[in-house]
C-alpha cells in the first residue's frame, strides 16, 4: 500500500541554485494541470515573497487530521483512500471559506473563478506538475521518512553556515545616506 506523500520544499541552502529562485513556474504549471490555462491565483502551490531575494514555496502539508476538514460544515473535505490525503469535493463545497481561515498554513484557498475551495491533490498520484517543472529541483513529493531525511540535511546546513541567519533576515532595503561620509574616498 502506497504511503501518504506531500510536496516538500527540499531546498539545498548550501547551493545558490538550491534555493527557490522565485520564478513561479510551479504556480503556472499547477494551474495549467488543474485548469488547462495559466493563472497563479488558481494554483495550489504559492511562492511567498518575504523581501528582496527571499521566496519560499508553500503548499498543503497533507495533515492526517486536518483543521480544514474539521472546520467544514458541509462535509466537503473528504479522505481519499488511494492518495491517503484529504481532497475537496467540488460538488459539496459552498465556498464559505471556513477552511481557509482554519488552515494553519493558509494554503487551502478559494478559486477566483469557481469560487470553491482548492488544495493540493498531488496531481492525482502522477508526478506533480510543480515537481516536474521546478528548474531548481527544490520540490519533491515525499513520504514521511524521506521528508525527515531532507529536513535533517537542511537543519545540518543551517548549523554549518552561520551566515544563514543574515541571509534570510528581512528588511534593511531602504537606501541609507547617513554612513556615506564616513567612507574614505
Amino acid at each position: 500500500m502506497a504511503k501518504r506523500k506531500r510536496i516538500v520544499y527540499t531546498n539545498r541552502p548550501w547551493e545558490a541554485t538550491g534555493i527557490c529562485s522565485g520564478c513561479k513556474l510551479c504556480e503556472l504549471y499547477c494551474s495549467l494541470h488543474h485548469n488547462g490555462a495559466f493563472n497563479p491565483r488558481r494554483a495550489r502551490i504559492r511562492v511567498v515573497e518575504l523581501g528582496t531575494g527571499i521566496d519560499v514555496p508553500v503548499t498543503c502539508q497533507q495533515c492526517q487530521d486536518p483543521a480544514c476538514r474539521a472546520a467544514c460544515r458541509f462535509e466537503a473535505i473528504e479522505f481519499d483512500d488511494r492518495l491517503k490525503i484529504v481532497v475537496v469535493n467540488q460538488d459539496k463545497c459552498t465556498g464559505c471559506q471556513d477552511c481557509v481561515g482554519a488552515c494553519p498554513y493558509g494554503i487551502i484557498t478559494i478559486d477566483p473563478i469557481s469560487h470553491k475551495a482548492i488544495k493540493c491533490d498531488l496531481c492525482g498520484g502522477a508526478e506533480p506538475a510543480c515537481v516536474a517543472i521546478c528548474p531548481s529541483h527544490v520540490l519533491a513529493a515525499l513520504d514521511d521518512a524521506a521528508a525527515g531525511e531532507y529536513n535533517r540535511r537542511r537543519f545540518a546546513a543551517l548549523l554549518a553556515f552561520d551566515d544563514e541567519a543574515e541571509r534570510y533576515r528581512p528588511g534593511g532595503e531602504e537606501p541609507t545616506f547617513k554612513k556615506l561620509e564616513k567612507r574614505s574616498s
Binding site: T17, L32, F38, G51, P112, P135, G171, E173, F177, S185
Partner: protein
C-alpha cells in the same frame, strides 16, 4: 467558465486622464496579425497616436504598456513587458522592457494592452481590478519611494498578489532619466528613454493591477514539447552555466577579454576591475540564483551587504549597473550595490544616470565645473560619497547643477557649454550603454542605428564573436563578417539580422539573456527563432513560420525607424559621439589605442541601409521597403510629410 482559447485576452484598455474616461476596445487581428504583441504593438500604437507635433511631456503623449505576447503563459522566460512613449530624452521613439509579473497580471485582468493619455489635474493612481477600473486620488503616495508605493498599494488592496507599475520621486520631478518600476524597487524596470518622466508629467503615480482570469494556451502539449526542447537546448549551450552561476555579472569577463570597459566616462578600455570580479559578487554578496517570472535560466541576482558602511543594503542589480559604476570610476562592489539600491528606490534609470554623473565628473576634473557649482561635492571619478549624493540630488532636482543634469547628458552639456559637449556620451540624446565600441566597428554602428538612442539590447552584433567563418559565409555572404576587428563585408547584413532577431524577443516578451545570447550561432537560432516561433504558435493557435517571425521583428523595427524619421531623424543622427572616432582608447589592454575608423563605420552603415532598404544617402525609409512589410499606411504618411526616401 471555459478557459480562453488562446493566450490573447482579446481586449485593450484606454484611460484618458484629462477627462477621466475609461474605455475598452477590441484587441483583434488589426493588432495581432502584423504586430503580434509587446514592442510590435506598442511601436505601432505610438506611431498612430503620437504625431511629431506632440512633445514628450505634453498630455497628448501616450504611455503605452504592452505585455509581450507570451507573457502570462508558462513559456520559458516569457516575463517581459514593453512600456513605450515618445521619449523626453531623444524626442523620438522611446521604450523600455522589464521582466516582472505586472504584464501577466494585466492579461489576467483581461487586457492585452493599456494606453494612457492626457494629464490628471492632481496626482492619481489607476486601479485595475478585472473589470473594475478607476482613477483614485494619490496625494498620499506622492513623494514615496518605488518600494513604498508598491507596499502601500498591496496593503490598501489587502492583496499581497497585487502587481503595480510605479514611478519614484525622480519620475514625479520629471527627471528625464526616470524609469518606470514594476512591482516595487527590485523586480524589474522599464528604465530607458525617460519613461518615468512621461508618467510623472501625466500626474500618474502608479497603476495597481489585480487580475483573476485565466491566460489560455491553444495547444498545451505543443507548449510543453517546446518547453522541453528549450531545456534540452540550454542544457547543451555553454553560454548558460556561467549565467546561472554569476548572473549578468559574468559579462565582466567579456569586457576584460576585449579591454572595452569604457571606464571614467568612456575613456579607459582596460581598467582596475578586480574589485568588481563576478566571483566577488557571487561569493561575498549574492543571496541566491534568482529568476524573473517563468525563467529556468536564473541569472537574476539579488545582493546583500553584511558589513562596512553599506551593511544592511539589499538590492537587485544587473551587469549594466557595474558597467556604469566603472564609467564613474567606482571600483568597490558594496558601493555598486548601494548605488543600485539608491537608483531603484528613487526611480532612476541606472544607465542614463551613470553616464550623466560620469559626464559631470569629467567636467569637474577638467575644471569646467568647480566646487562652487557642485555645492561642495568633490566630483572626482571614484569618489563614492559624491557619486551617491549627486545621484540623490538628480532624482530630487536639488540644486542648480543637479537640476541641469536631470535633463540628461545631451541637454546638460548644451546648458553647461564650454566645450563639454565633447564629453557628453549619447546617441540621439539617449545615454550610451554596455561596452566601448572602439576596436569593434559593427558594435559602433549598432549603437548608432538603435531606434531608442545609445543602447546595447537593440541588437546582437556580438554574434560576430560566436560565428564561424563558414557560417558567416553562408549567412552574410562573406567570411569577413566573423572577423571582429578587421571584417567589413557582411557586417551590415549581420547587424540588420541581429536587430530583427532581438526584436522578436521584445514582441513575444522573451528575455534577451535567456533566448538571444548563446555560445554558438546554431543554438542562438534554435532558441531565438525556431523555439520562439513554436512557443508563440502553441500559445496563440496561429501557425507562423520562422520567416514570418523574423519579418515581424523587421516590421516593428521599421515602424520605429519611420517614427524617428517623422520626428526629423536622418542619417546624420545614426552616429556615435566624436570621442569614439577621435580619441584612442586609454589604459592599454587588448583594445588599447583603438578608435572607430570613420570610413569603416560608414561602409558598414551603407551596407546596413542597403539591406534595410533605406535610402543610402539620407537613411530615410523607402516606399518599397515599407510596403514589403505591409506598412503601406506608414509609407503614405511619410510621403505626405515628405519624409519618404527614394
Amino acid at each position: 467558465m471555459a478557459a480562453p482559447r488562446n493566450s490573447y485576452a482579446g481586449r485593450m484598455l484606454r484611460v484618458d486622464l484629462t477627462s477621466g474616461r475609461i474605455s475598452t476596445e477590441e484587441f483583434g487581428s488589426g493588432y495581432t496579425d502584423l504586430f503580434i504583441g509587446g514592442r510590435g504593438v506598442a511601436s505601432k500604437v505610438l506611431y498612430d497616436e503620437v504625431p511629431p507635433e506632440v512633445a514628450p511631456l505634453d498630455p497628448g503623449n501616450r504611455l503605452i504598456l504592452s505585455p509581450g505576447a507570451l507573457h502570462g503563459t508558462g513559456a520559458p522566460a516569457a516575463s517581459r513587458t514593453t512600456v513605450a512613449a515618445r521619449s523626453p530624452l531623444t524626442n523620438m521613439h522611446g521604450d523600455g522592457h522589464a521582466g516582472a509579473t505586472w504584464g501577466g497580471e494585466l492579461k489576467r485582468a483581461g487586457y492585452d494592452l493599456l494606453v494612457i493619455q492626457g494629464r490628471a489635474e492632481k496626482p492619481v493612481y489607476l486601479l485595475i481590478d478585472d473589470d473594475r477600473v478607476e482613477l483614485r486620488e494619490a496625494g498620499r503616495l506622492w513623494g514615496l519611494l518605488t518600494s513604498k508605493v508598491h507596499a502601500r498599494l498591496r496593503q490598501e488592496a489587502e492583496d499581497q498578489d497585487l502587481c503595480s507599475v510605479t514611478i519614484g520621486p525622480a519620475g514625479e520631478n520629471m527627471v528625464r532619466l526616470a524609469g518606470v518600476f514594476h512591482n516595487g524597487a527590485d523586480k524589474g524596470t522599464s528604465a530607458r528613454c525617460g519613461l518615468g518622466a512621461v508618467m510623472g508629467s501625466k500626474n500618474l503615480k502608479a497603476i495597481a493591477t489585480r487580475g483573476t482570469r485565466d491566460v489560455g494556451v491553444a495547444d498545451p502539449e505543443a507548449l510543453k514539447a517546446a518547453y522541453r526542447d528549450y531545456l534540452e537546448t540550454i542544457a547543451l549551450d555553454p553560454y548558460v552555466p556561467p549565467a546561472t552561476r554569476y548572473g549578468t555579472c559574468r559579462f565582466m569577463m567579456h569586457r576584460v577579454k576585449f579591454g572595452i570597459h569604457g571606464a571614467e566616462n568612456w575613456r579607459y578600455g582596460a581598467y582596475d576591475w578586480q574589485g568588481l570580479d563576478p566571483e566577488v559578487f557571487r561569493s561575498d554578496y549574492q543571496i541566491k540564483a534568482g529568476a524573473c517570472v517563468a525563467c529556468p535560466v536564473r541569472c537574476r541576482r539579488d545582493y546583500r551587504v553584511t558589513s562596512g558602511p553599506f551593511a544592511g543594503t539589499r538590492a537587485k542589480l544587473e551587469w549594466e549597473t557595474i558597467a556604469r559604476s566603472m564609467t564613474c570610476g567606482v571600483k568597490e562592489a558594496d558601493a555598486v550595490i548601494a548605488w543600485s539600491n539608491l537608483c531603484n528606490h528613487l526611480g532612476l534609470d541606472i544607465e542614463g544616470t551613470g553616464d550623466t554623473v560620469a559626464f559631470a565628473m569629467e567636467c569637474f576634473e577638467r575644471g569646467i565645473l568647480t566646487e562652487k557649482d557642485t555645492d561642495g561635492l568633490e566630483l572626482r571619478f571614484g569618489n563614492v560619497p559624491a557619486w551617491l549624493e549627486l545621484t540623490r540630488r538628480i532624482a530630487l532636482r536639488e540644486g542648480d547643477l543637479a537640476n541641469v543634469l536631470a535633463e540628461g547628458v545631451k541637454r546638460a552639456a548644451a546648458e553647461i557649454g564650454q566645450g563639454s559637449e565633447r564629453f557628453a556620451i549619447h546617441v540621439k540624446g539617449g545615454e550610451m550603454t554596455a561596452g566601448d565600441p572602439r576596436g569593434m566597428p559593427v558594435r559602433a554602428v549598432s549603437y548608432a542605428t538603435s531606434t531608442r538612442g545609445g543602447d546595447h539590447l537593440r541588437s546582437n552584433p556580438y554574434i560576430e564573436e560566436i560565428m564561424t567563418p563558414e557560417e558567416a559565409l553562408e549567412w552574410w555572404g562573406s567570411e569577413e563578417a566573423a572577423d571582429i576587428a578587421h571584417g567589413l563585408k557582411g557586417k551590415g547584413r549581420m547587424l540588420k539580422f541581429s536587430e530583427d532577431l532581438v526584436t522578436i524577443g521584445d514582441i513575444l516578451g522573451l528575455c534577451k539573456f535567456a533566448f538571444y545570447r548563446s555560445a554558438t550561432f546554431p543554438y542562438l537560432y534554435r532558441k531565438g527563432v525556431h523555439l520562439a516561433t513554436r512557443l508563440y504558435n502553441a500559445c496563440s493557435g496561429r501557425s507562423l513560420s520562422e520567416k514570418d517571425m523574423l519579418l515581424a521583428g523587421e516590421r516593428a523595427w521599421n515602424v520605429e525607424k519611420a517614427y524617428n524619421t517623422r520626428c526629423g531623424a536622418t542619417r546624420a543622427d545614426d552616429v556615435i559621439p566624436a570621442r569614439f572616432f577621435e580619441e584612442p582608447l586609454l589604459g592599454g589592454g587588448p583594445s588599447g589605442g583603438a578608435v572607430v575608423e570613420r570610413d569603416k563605420f560608414e561602409k558598414i552603415l551603407d551596407e546596413y541601409y542597403q539591406d534595410r532598404r533605406f535610402e543610402p544617402g539620407t537613411g530615410l525609409p523607402t516606399r518599397a521597403g515599407l510596403e514589403r512589410l505591409g506598412l503601406n499606411d506608414i509609407a503614405a504618411d511619410l510621403a505626405g510629410r515628405e519624409r519618404l526616401g527614394g
